[in-house]
Symmetry: C2
Subunit: 111 residues, 2 copies
């Protein structure tokens, strides 16, 4: 049986990380812009900023770094920790998906 997982992690800081914020970070990495990333997910500029603000408070160290002004009119990129959080999130997802497929398999085999 195929199954798709969504994992949300409630951190000690009170912030929460789930598939939406991870996708937003991936799109910020790809586009170099918080507004472009938000747009790609169909969300307002304000909403995207609020999510980035939450991400930057999650670990007490920023995950997304913004550059003000400059030739390109500013932009955004992930910090090393931001990239690491994405990798770890996907690793957690992969392990949980393995567990899910194993348990669902057992369940439906009647073990």
């Amino acid at each position: 049986m195929a199954a798709k997982l969504s994992i949300r992690i409630d951190l000690e800081s009170g912030e929460r990380i789930g598939p939406g914020k991870i996708r937003l970070m991936e799109l910020i990495a790809a586009t170099g812009s918080i507004s472009a990333a938000g747009r790609a997910m169909g969300m307002s500029y304000r909403r995207a900023w609020l999510l980035v603000d939450s991400l930057n408070r999650a670990f007490g160290v920023p995950l997304v770094e913004t550059q003000q002004g400059g030739a390109s009119g500013g932009g955004a990129k992930l910090t090393d920790l931001g990239r690491e959080v994405i990798n770890r999130y996907h690793a957690i997802e992969a392990e949980a998906e393995d567990a899910t497929l194993r348990h669902l398999g057992d369940l439906l085999d009647g073990d």
Copy 2:
């Protein structure tokens, strides 16, 4: 770092199982009643029934069994598969929580 996980599983059937439906099943097991279980979660009778209906379509075999009428005026209980789904869900949760704590630990140690 402490972290709390929520896991949602999208099944092949199109149904979705997450912490709310699992909690509802646990309360049905404890109270013997869909309406009492729903009430304990602050949801309407209709909402609780819709969730039970979704649960019973998730695997093509019922997870919750209802008894009509009788001395007690009807009631509900979990099927063997229903109990097994709860156990497997918590096992998946425990494995994913282990993975999360491990990865968060590595992350914050700078590994």
